[in-house]
């Protein structure tokens, strides 16, 4: 069952009609086949035009689409020899972050990915992609492992944010995020991040303090969720749409601001329409970025990464 977003309703209606007609057409009626073809063309055109001009708020919904490919899909399709490694060696294992060793395009690397989960059970297992300090400390541990063995680090960013809870605060959520940023910035191996869905604030930047930050066309990356921003600045979460616009959280705006390096095109109708194609495209972009960074002498990576962040944000939207 395809899950339709609110603004996809007109497409949903057309596609619903097409399905109905297809059920009728088992007799092979030529008129019906023609009508199906006609509607299909119309639906495709509508989908294309809808997705060509998504608003920031619509993109936020696409980025959170329940059928959007997640870190586990990317790992399954792109990473060979994947060997999960778990635990922060301090307190626990946080399944909001998938982690392990594997090969991407033949290159052995450390892989980290925030996973939201796909059904009620797995969402609970992965805590909706909201990591606790253990998740970030596990990430640090694996980044240090990467450093020790000269392996690049690949991260898949997809989180509403770090988990806000009593235990998380007691165990130093702020410190865990801060340290992850510090460790990531200090590595002298390549670090490549891809924002595949929702880049939620500090919880995202903890895994995205990278040499290259790639981002899917309809992914979002923001200092605060549009709902959170609206409830603070507009005093009402009903203004989430306005907040999404104001925050400039789309891949296109972030690219203009120089915060991300590459926008990766999604299939027409969004990544959830063709997950495997999306993953394959991301795989090619990742491999390109990885090999470009692997060509840089190891001793220069850290300095270049620092320079990139230090120069960031001086221009504005222009």
């Amino acid at each position: 069952m395809r899950h339709y977003l609110d603004f996809e309703k007109p497409v949903a209606e057309l596609e619903g009609k097409i399905e109905e007609l297809k059920h009728l057409s088992d007799a092979g009626d030529l008129n019906i086949a023609e009508e199906v073809q006609r509607l299909q063309t119309k639906a495709d055109r509508l989908l294309r035009s809808t997705y060509a001009k998504l608003s920031a708020w619509q993109k936020t919904q696409v980025a959170r689409h329940p059928q959007r490919p997640q870190a586990s899909d990317y790992i399954a399709q792109l990473v060979t020899d994947f060997t999960p490694l778990t635990g922060d060696r301090l307190y626990g294992e946080d399944r909001a972050i998938l982690s392990g060793l594997g090969r991407l395009g033949g290159h052995a690397c450390v892989v980290l990915g925030q996973e939201k989960g796909k059904d009620l059970t797995s969402r609970q297992t992965h805590n909706f992609g909201m990591a606790r300090p253990e998740g970030y400390r596990k990430a640090q541990r694996l980044m240090r492992l990467a450093q020790r063995f000269g392996l690049p680090v690949i991260t898949f960013v997809d989180t509403p944010g770090a988990y806000p809870g009593i235990g998380a605060e007691e165990r130093g959520q702020a410190e865990a995020i801060a340290k992850s940023i510090e460790v990531s910035l200090g590595l002298d191996v390549p670090v490549i991040a891809v924002v595949i869905g929702e880049g939620g604030s500090g919880g995202a930047v903890a895994l995205a303090s990278a040499d290259r930050v790639l981002m899917l066309e309809h992914a979002v990356y923001s200092v605060i969720s549009p709902e959170g921003c609206a409830s603070i600045l507009w005093r009402s979460a009903d203004h989430a749409k306005d907040a999404a616009e104001a925050l400039r959280l789309t891949a296109q705006d972030l690219h203009r601001l120089g915060v991300i390096d590459t926008v990766i095109e999604e299939p027409v109708g969004g990544a959830h329409r063709a997950p495997q194609d999306t993953v394959a495209t991301v795989g090619r972009a990742l491999q390109g970025a990885l090999e470009e960074r692997l060509a840089v002498p190891r001793g220069e990576l850290r300095q270049q990464r620092r320079q990139k962040f230090l120069e960031m944000g001086q221009a504005g939207l222009g």
Partner: protein, 335 residues
């Protein structure tokens, strides 16, 4: 008999008659509700005379009480893009900025100053909560970068004093990017072998706590300061439980291993001065170098296990193995 009723009251009346701001003369403690006369409150460094609650203070006041004799020099901060996102909520961000500037007389939410603390050179990067809740945008990030560079240049310690609700929403992703940027700044100080101390004041939350503010060599906090990542309301809404007593307060963080010392405002200069003098032994190499387990003289001196051992500083100096000639030149770090 009471100093306030005998001496101050008549004077207040005359002042009230002249000015139209009587509420400024008495301030209510937000913690215990006690009304405190302003001059008494100022003399007590804006710490409640009844309950010891540490009220928020301006960056100016903070710098005066941190530096020796209240003497320091502020530095001009680099120009940064204004309103890079052309952000507008119910109000334009540029208008909010204007208001904050005229209210505080500051350009943005951070002031950077240098001077001495307990005789040691120090650069202090101090937030002003009165300026848009001390929120961190590009200007604040740039202030931290400038403070770190100055510390490295002067071979001084860096002391960051956050008082901030977190990132400045109106600068969107660019405010989020101040987390890695400020982290790089303090890393440069640490790599130069200089102390980086964080004085966490009320409040230190959000993206500020989750970056440079939790990366100090030493974390000091004022009593009762709220320090944490997530806001209390957000946590309550998420877990639908009551928060424990003292949650996210300085003492709570100390008890959970995130803060070294909780120090009352009046003792900050002395404590920081002592720490800086302990951390900056001038004759020693400061970077991580191998220090012999025991100095050659140790055995001859009869210093064995269980005996009080010399500090590392003494052992290295007496061992004579790591004299200043061996000090490695610092690796040059570009901007």
């Amino acid at each position: 008999m009471n100093w306030i009723s005998d001496y101050v009251r008549p004077r207040i009346r005359s002042l009230i008659a002249k000015q139209d701001v009587p509420e400024n003369l008495w301030e209510k403690c937000p913690s215990c509700g006690q009304m405190i006369f302003h001059r008494e409150l100022e003399a007590n460094l804006r710490v409640c005379t009844a309950c010891g609650h540490h009220m928020r203070i301006s960056a100016q006041r903070r710098l005066e009480l941190l530096f020796d004799e209240g003497e320091f020099q502020t530095i001009e901060l680099p120009e940064t893009p204004v309103d890079p996102l052309r952000f507008r909520d119910r109000e334009r961000y540029t208008d909010r900025l204007k208001k904050a500037r005229s209210k505080t007389g500051k350009q943005d939410a951070i002031v950077v100053a240098h001077g001495t603390i307990g005789g040691s050179k120090a650069v202090v990067a101090c937030f002003d909560f009165a300026f848009m809740g001390g929120s961190m945008g590009i200007a604040v990030g740039e202030g931290l970068v400038a403070a770190a560079r100055l510390a490295v240049l002067q071979e001084a310690a860096l002391i960051a004093v956050p008082a901030s609700g977190g990132a400045r929403m109106q600068e969107g992703i660019l405010s989020l990017m101040q987390m890695p940027r400020s982290t790089i700044a303090v890393e440069q100080v640490k790599e130069a072998g200089l102390p980086y101390i964080v004085l966490l004041t009320d409040p230190t939350t959000g993206g500020v706590s989750a970056s440079f503010a939790m990366l100090g060599d030493i974390h000091i906090s004022e009593p009762g300061a709220v320090i944490g990542f997530a806001g209390q309301r957000v946590i309550e809404e998420t877990i639908r439980e009551q928060l424990p007593e003292g949650f996210q307060r300085a003492e709570y963080l100390r008890d959970h291993g995130m803060v070294d010392l909780v120090v009352p405002r009046g003792e900050l200069n002395a404590t920081l001065g002592r720490l800086l003098s302990l951390l900056t032994v001038p004759s020693l190499p400061r970077a991580a170098e191998i220090i012999p387990l025991a100095p050659p003289e140790a055995a001859a001196d009869g210093t064995g296990p269980g005996e009080p051992v010399a500090t590392e500083a003494e052992s290295v100096t007496s061992g004579g193995e790591l004299e200043s000639a061996e000090r490695e030149p610092q690796e040059p770090r570009g901007g």
